[in-house]
Structure formats: structure tokens, C-alpha cells
């Protein structure tokens, strides 16, 4: 997962198995050897390259093409409208709401999940009996299907449902909201559900990062008289930097695409008013279900462009340090 950028991977220069036997062979046999090598290279990579190009790259190319037409999806697109679909999207207040909601989800997820995950990971990194069981339980929400999570919370949060009843029982009845129907509340409800679902992933990554910290370091800190907290603060946190940045990157890309949980949990009417729509739900609602294929593809291109630019900026400014570490041979 570190290796989002190719230069992050140690594999890069480490394995360069020079092919073939010592040089003292006849030329023709070496040529045969080279030819054989290329057959193997082509034979082994072609299936992966073909599937990848066909189903990842080609569709995005088509999206750009379709986005320039007004097209209901029947027959080939003929009504060329230039960039009109893009202009329309940015003039639609619902789409602008979706953009704002995506921004809330991106930054809300980082701000909520980061501290929670760090605290839980440090807690579960302590040695105590039953730790494995606790780890397993904490990961459960992350393993559940988005649909399952959506339906679960929809039932729990429905008006007069379990959450409301519990709040009343503990005397917080005045806090009860129309969690899924109030247009001002629903996006925050969505953020809560998404946080509940995905914080486990941040915890998994951070625990993996913590377990890579050599025990010698914490032992040395303990010998120097550092308290548990001082050890975490001055030894663990700095070493977790790369893991945290990678999690931030993955979380950001995921948040920009948020679809399933919102699609299932929030009522379509609320979504169509923009209160809980995201770029992805807006795209599927308009492109697939309303059959505005040209328009939907324009939204797809916008979603892709925003993700791509965000990813590049993130790599440029935040992952740079990790890349430098990899290049300067931090580990060797």
C-alpha cells in the first residue's frame, strides 16, 4: 500500500536478474535466448495488460467522448454539444451541493477518523490478554458490506427507532433529530456512518505500521526513563508518519467516490434535493436512472479529474518525504 507511487517500492532496483548464461555462448543461441525471454515477458503480461486497458483505461476514454454529446443512450451519440454538459453541471445547485458534501466527507473523515484511529491503535498495540479478540471486533465494521452497513443504520436511525429510543432512555431525548430526513442534518449523519464504517481500516493500517517499529526503540526509551505517553509521542508518532500519510491518501480517494452507504441509507427524495447527494450518487441518478448518458459521463469525468488532481497534489506535497526516504535508501 505504500507503493502507490512506483518509486516508493523497494522492488524498483533491487532485482535485476541479468538473463542468460555466461557470455561464451554462440551468438545464435543468445539470440534464441533473448527471443525466448521476450516471448515469456509478452505471454505473461499480456492477459493482465489487456484486461486492465480494456476495463479501466478504455472506459475513461469513452467517458470523455460521450460527455461531449447530448445522448439518451440509444444508438450512437450524434448531438454534439461541446462542453455544454460540464457547464450545465456547474450551474446545477444540486451538483454544487454534491461537491460541498464530498468536501465535508473528505475533510470530516480525515479529522474524525485520524485521531480516533490513532488512539485506538495505540491502545490495541499495548500488550494485554485478549488483545487479538479486541482487534478482531474493532475491524468488524470495515469488513461488512457497505449495503449491510447502510441498511443497518437506516433501521437504527429511522424516526422513533432504536437510536432515538436509546437517547430518550438516557435522558438525551432533546437531542433527537430527524437523522435521515432533516435536510441540514442528514449529511452529518452520513459522515457519522461513514466514520463508523471506515475507521477500522485506518486502525488496521496504523497497527501494521506500529508493529513495524523495532521493539529495541521502545525498550531504549523505557531504559531512558520515558513514560508510556512520552514513548508514544516521541518515538511512535514520528515513525508512523508514512503510514498516516498513506491512510490519508486512500481515505481521500475513497471519500471522493462515496456512493454505497449514502445510496442505501439516505432517502432518494432527500438525495435528489442535494442534502445528501455526492458526486457519485448524482452521477448514477442522472446518468443511469434518468438516462442522461452524455450528462452523466460529464459528471464522471469531473469526478475523475477531481480525484486525479487531488491525488497528484497529495503525492507532490505530502508523500514527497516518503518518496525521498525510499530513494535515499532509508531502509538499507
Amino acid at each position: 500500500m505504500t507503493s502507490i507511487n512506483p518509486t516508493l517500492s523497494p522492488a524498483g532496483g533491487t532485482s535485476v536478474p541479468p538473463a542468460g548464461p555466461p557470455a561464451a555462448r554462440r551468438r545464435s543461441s543468445r539470440a534464441a535466448e533473448t527471443r525466448r525471454k521476450w516471448y515469456e515477458i509478452i505471454g505473461l503480461t499480456t492477459p493482465a495488460v489487456a484486461v486492465y486497458v480494456m476495463f479501466v483505461l478504455v472506459p475513461m476514454g469513452f467517458a470523455v467522448y460521450y460527455s461531449l454529446f447530448r445522448w439518451r443512450g440509444v444508438g450512437p451519440p450524434t448531438e454534439f454539444v461541446g462542453f455544454n454538459n460540464y457547464i450545465l453541471a456547474f450551474q446545477d445547485p444540486i451538483f454544487l451541493d454534491a461537491l460541498r458534501n464530498n468536501a465535508i466527507i473528505v475533510f470530516g473523515s480525515l479529522l474524525l477518523q485520524g485521531p480516533i484511529a490513532l488512539a485506538v491503535a495505540l491502545l490495541l498495540n499495548r500488550r494485554f490478554r485478549g488483545r487479538t479478540v479486541f482487534r478482531l471486533l474493532v475491524f468488524v465494521p470495515y469488513v461488512l458490506a457497505e449495503v449491510t452497513v447502510g441498511i443497518m443504520w437506516k433501521l437504527l436511525l429511522t424516526g422513533g427507532g432504536t437510536v432515538d429510543a436509546l437517547l430518550k432512555q438516557i435522558g438525551l431525548g432533546s437531542f433527537v433529530q430527524a437523522w435521515l430526513a432533516d435536510l441540514d442534518v442528514v449529511i452529518w449523519t452520513m459522515l457519522f456512518v461513514l466514520t463508523w464504517k471506515y475507521v477500522g481500516f485506518a486502525i488496521i493500517l496504523l497497527l501494521a505500521g506500529l508493529s513495524n517499529v523495532p521493539p529495541e526503540l521502545t525498550e531504549a526509551a523505557a531504559i531512558d526513563g520515558a513514560s508510556w505517553w512520552q514513548t508514544q509521542r516521541h518515538v511512535m508518532f514520528p515513525l508512523l508518519g508514512p503510514t498516516i500519510r498513506i491512510w490519508m491518501f486512500l481515505s481521500m480517494i475513497g471519500s471522493l467516490q462515496a456512493f454505497e452507504v449514502i445510496w442505501v441509507t439516505s432517502v432518494p427524495a432527500v438525495r435528489s434535493l442535494g442534502a445528501s447527494a455526492t458526486m457519485a450518487t448524482y452521477m448514477v441518478d442522472n446518468g443511469f436512472f434518468a438516462r442522461l448518458w452524455g450528462y452523466g459521463n460529464a459528471v464522471a469525468v469531473i469526478l475523475f479529474a477531481i480525484s486525479f488532481i487531488a491525488a497528484l497534489l497529495f503525492q507532490r506535497f505530502l508523500l514527497r518525504r516518503d518518496i525521498e526516504g525510499a530513494v535515499t535508501g532509508r531502509r538499507s
Partner: protein, 286 residues
């Protein structure tokens, strides 16, 4: 992952302690927040809808098995479970097979354009599968693949390949050259080396990418929603969603259906958790 084998057993240094009551208190609180809703859904499946409406936060009284029995006797539940299993297994096998072949070349062959090819694959990590869903649908429609298992399997394989290759390549590259030379001396070609030495040695990494691909496929919703219009081909996530919107008043039935649908992923993860965390550990180390 490899480090697990090297690391001394934990007992050698500091034995597990019972921890402080504070540690346990906090850990219990965190665990409760994580699984309370899940427990609610499973237990709620043992209640009746009138019970749930009268007291949403109560316990079953009496426990009823009827909801689970109703779901388990539905033929479409089993059909959906079968569809999910076929699609998830097909995806997993194809991802691992194609991923190993490509990662093997990228790790063990030196040739012009190797790094370019690797970068080409890693670019896929930046392509959100959600953004491509509309043109993907149109393309699958033109290829006459809509309403077939392939319509889900092929795109899932394609979108899983970049991560698979990124995880597998360092693993395959780490196998010592000496083993390859030894295999060559024994008369094995490079393909023989891949099959007889590399695959057995990299089993932990293969399991990791396999589990990740399987769980992602088992839980997938958006792609099947668009390309599997035929109800006979619906997967469990689609089934759960349809059931819950079709029988909105049957809360207990929805809870039972949801519980049964999430069970396989939960069991699978429980068995494979060590593998996943271990595999990510290797990747984070990168």
C-alpha cells in the same frame, strides 16, 4: 509478513499481562461501539416486528426463529448466495493468476520498459472505479455482456490488478537470486522456477491479495446494481437491498436477511484476519 517468522516469540521478552483496568475499560468501550449495531441486527432478527416497534431497544421476548427460517427457505436467498460465491471466486482466481504472472515479470525479468510498465499499472490506483461505472456499463452493454457473471468479474479483476501487482511485486523480488540459479542448474526454466519455487514461497502474499479481492467482490454493490438487471443473477448485497425496500414493514425479516448476508464475510475475515494484517504490514513497510 516475512518478519513474523524472524521475530522472536513474544513470550521471550515481555509476557502478556492482564493490563490495567483502564486499558480494558477503553478497549471494551471501543469494541462495544464497533459491534453493538451488528449485535443489534443479529439479535433483532430473533424478535417480531411488533416487538421491535413497541420497544426498539429491547431484547427478544420470546426468541423467535421464524424470521431466519423464512429467509433460509427462500430460494432466491440461496440463488443470490450462489451468484455471490461464483462471482467472488471467479474474480479472486483471475486476479491472483493474472497478477502473479505480471508481477513475476516485473520482479524477475530485466528488460527495457519494465519500470514504465509498472508505473502504467500503478496509475490504476488513481482511477476510481466509481468514476468509470457509466462508460463501463455502456461498454459492457455493447459487448453483450450485461446480465452475465462476466460483466461483474472482468471489471472487478481489472480494478483489483493494480493493488495486487503493487503488493506482489516486492514479495516476488525478495526471493533470493541463488534460488533462481539453483533452479536453473537443476534444469528448470524460468517458468518452472515460477511454478515450483516462487508460488509456494509467496503463498502468504497470494493469500493476502486473494482475500482482499474476495471480500471486495463479495461486498460489491454499485457494479452489480448497474449490470445485473436480471433478478436471477442478483448477488447478496443486491438481494438485501431489494428485500429491505420491498418489505419495508417487515423489520424483523430485514434484520434476519441482513444478518445472514453478512455472516459469510464475517466468518471469512475472522479466519483470514492475521493474513490481511500481515500482508498490509508487508505493504506498509514498502
Amino acid at each position: 509478513m516475512t518478519a513474523d517468522a524472524v521475530r522472536p516469540p513474544p513470550t521471550s521478552r515481555r509476557p502478556f499481562s492482564w493490563g490495567s483496568p483502564l486499558t480494558y475499560g477503553l478497549a471494551l468501550a471501543v469494541a462495544a461501539v464497533s459491534i453493538a449495531p451488528v449485535v443489534y441486527v443479529i439479535v433483532g432478527g430473533f424478535r417480531t416486528t411488533p416487538q421491535i416497534i413497541a420497544d426498539p431497544a429491547g431484547l427478544p421476548d420470546p426468541w423467535v426463529w421464524d424470521n431466519y427460517a423464512r429467509v433460509l427457505t427462500r430460494s432466491d436467498f440461496w440463488q443470490q448466495a450462489l451468484n455471490s460465491a461464483v462471482i467472488a471466486l471467479g474474480t479472486t482466481l483471475a486476479v491472483v493468476l493474472l497478477g502473479v504472472c505480471a508481477a513475476f515479470v516485473l520482479a524477475r525479468y530485466s528488460f527495457r520498459g519494465r519500470e514504465a510498465l509498472y508505473t502504467f499499472f500503478t496509475l490504476g490506483l488513481l482511477f476510481p472505479s466509481g468514476a468509470a461505472i457509466l462508460p463501463l456499463y455502456l461498454m459492457l452493454r455493447d459487448l453483450n455482456l450485461i446480465n452475465s457473471y462476466y460483466a461483474v468479474i472482468l471489471p472487478q479483476v481489472a480494478f483489483s490488478l493494480p493493488l495486487t501487482i503493487v503488493i506482489l511485486r516486492p514479495f516476488l523480488a525478495a526471493v533470493p537470486r541463488e534460488l533462481e540459479d539453483a533452479a536453473a542448474i537443476d534444469g528448470a526454466g524460468r517458468l518452472g522456477f515460477l511454478w515450483r519455487v516462487m508460488l509456494p514461497l509467496s503463498r502468504p502474499a497470494l493469500v493476502t491479495v486473494g482475500v482482499l479481492a474476495f471480500v471486495a467482490s463479495w461486498n460489491a454493490f454499485l457494479l452489480p446494481l448497474l449490470v445485473l438487471g436480471d433478478a436471477d443473477l442478483h448477488t447478496l448485497p443486491l438481494g438485501v437491498q431489494n428485500f429491505s425496500s420491498q418489505y419495508t414493514s417487515d423489520t424483523a425479516g430485514i434484520l434476519a436477511f441482513t444478518s445472514l448476508a453478512m455472516l459469510p464475510a464475517l466468518l471469512f475475515f475472522t479466519f483470514a484476519e492475521k493474513q490481511i494484517v500481515g500482508g498490509l504490514q508487508g505493504a506498509v513497510k514498502g
